[in-house]
């Protein structure tokens, strides 16, 4: 064990960081693969079907088969497409979804880049992911794709505002932009996690997150009943798979952020409860974080199986006329609350 630690600390910093990046990115990719399977299975059971069950035991190898199939498909670039941007679109969609993981704390010491402005970094990066969709829509030189891109751009920009204000509330309550400090500020059991004092913000943030990832019921950017498949209608093979990966990686990211900012991240839910706290003291914090993320990911799938797609004007109304005023009111309310030092803020 000592030998291993010595070799690790002996490595150059760049190699260490690269190894950590691989340790974060590879599990995310695997999670994405099995999230697609989970989605098909969950929605299947909700609709009284079985879902994929042919490839491997109980269909467990289905995502691998899908990946191999997509990797060997031909990438078709439309004749009049703008080639450079057409290829850049999917790359730009995936890159921010992965880069944002740099500041996610998995446990108190387990964090790749413990930067001060972590929350701002995440907001800045996720706001950049819309470029992938716009590039794809425009470079495809197709009407369906362009319509999808325009819808998506307007939607993402609208919901980002409500999302940003919800995060302002989180940073007011946590007193920091650093994600680790935000989690530590929630210490003290389920009732002091920020979901309770910031309940409206939690709802606004999570629903805006669903809208930001263009998931059902906010998936008008794809809208297969109206515009075929929206911005990625011209994509095939691996370029299409990258959009898919980006969407699911973003879902996992939003779940992780919701767990960190409103549900105490790696903190145990039994904190402060006499007997249970001691019983569950051996559980590593990461397990709690992953459990919380799994709940939110399940919500994503559940939404998709339950709600019909919003009409476009309803999406805009929800974003601008419901979420935005709620956040704008909650900021002064929260300010007074913190200044007066009423529970749970001292």
């Amino acid at each position: 064990m000592d030998f291993l630690i010595d070799t690790w600390t002996g490595l150059p910093t760049v190699v260490q960081i690269l190894a950590k990046i691989v340790l974060i990115a590879v599990p995310i990719m695997l999670t994405v693969a099995y999230l697609t399977l989970a989605e098909r299975k969950v929605i299947g059971y909700m609709q009284v079907r079985i879902g994929p069950n042919r490839v491997g035991p109980r269909g467990l190898l289905q995502p691998i088969a899908d990946g191999i199939k997509l990797a060997f498909k031909e990438i078709i670039i439309p004749t009049n497409a703008n080639k450079a941007l057409f290829i850049m679109g999917p790359l730009l969609a995936l890159a921010p979804a992965l880069a944002a993981w740099a500041v996610i704390p998995f446990d108190e010491p387990l964090i790749l880049a413990d930067i001060d402005a972590g929350l701002l970094y995440i907001l800045a990066l996720t706001s950049g992911s819309v470029y992938g969709i716009i590039f794809a829509g425009w470079a495809s030189n197709s009407k369906y794709a362009f319509l999808g891109a325009l819808r998506s751009a307007a939607q993402v920009v609208s919901y980002e505002i409500a999302m940003g204000f919800a995060l302002v509330c989180v940073l007011m309550a946590g007193g920091s932009l650093n994600l680790r400090d935000i989690v530590l500020a929630q210490q003290g059991g389920v009732w002091t996690w920020f979901w309770l004092p910031l309940l409206p913000m939690f709802i606004v943030y999570f629903l805006s997150g669903v809208a930001e990832t263009n998931r059902a019921p906010f998936d008008v950017a794809e809208g297969e009943s109206e515009i075929v498949a929206g911005f990625h209608v011209e994509y095939s093979g691996m370029t299409f798979a990258l959009f898919f990966l980006a969407e699911y990686a973003n879902m996992i990211l939003i779940s992780a952020l919701t767990a960190l900012m409103f549900f105490g991240g790696w903190l145990s839910p039994f904190q402060g409860i006499p007997v249970l706290e001691a019983w569950f003291a051996w559980v590593p914090g990461m397990v709690w974080l992953f459990a919380k993320m799994a709940v939110f990911l399940f919500l994503f799938l559940w939404f998709r199986a339950t709600f019909p797609r919003y009409r476009y004007d309803q999406i805009m109304r929800l974003g601008w006329k419901v979420f935005l005023p709620v956040t704008l009111i909650w900021i002064p309310v929260l300010g007074v609350w913190i200044m007066l030092g009423i529970w749970p803020f001292h």
């Binding site: 701002l120 706001s127 920009v157």
Partner: protein, 201 residues
Amino acid sequence: MAIEPVIFWVFSTILVLSAGAVVTVRNPVHAVIFLVLAFFTSAAIWILLEAEFLALALVLVYVGAVMVLFLFVVMMLDINVAPLREGFVRNLWVGIPVLAIVIYELWVVVGEKQFGLDKVAAPAGHAADYSNTKELGGILYTVYMYPFELAAVILLVAIVAAIALTLRRRPQTRYQDPAQQVLVKRGDRVRLVKMAAEKKQ
């Protein structure tokens, strides 16, 4: 070897090249994309200056929101740039001297005579617990309180003006009332009719 100069030169090269491409590329959409790249790389250079709040705010506001809408508009407009460039060579004899004067003026104002290392020492790195966000917040809400509030009010006036320009009731516009839509009952839309069965003749 220190890594900062490498990062600086790489990013400033990209910045200058992309800024040049903004005005030289033919396709307006490409020009906007190069502008985005220029914003992004200048944000990276700001991070090198330990101004992470400004850098991230630049990415968030300009790259993430303003340029998206800008790109949106440029893509929709579908501008044909060929006629716009017709006089390029003809006007070059005006353009080049103007460019030379601008460069000279810039050099006079921000050249090494004013900002050389003998005039302004290289800034020392901050301590590990230095937080750019905290410092900015402290200064903004104490020393620059009134200018900050003033800027906010001016922006608010601009928002109100923009909304006032578009907010006019036109008689032919039809509005929806979501509350009414939600309150609709089945009986409002469907009428079940009971009829006696008819016999075929």
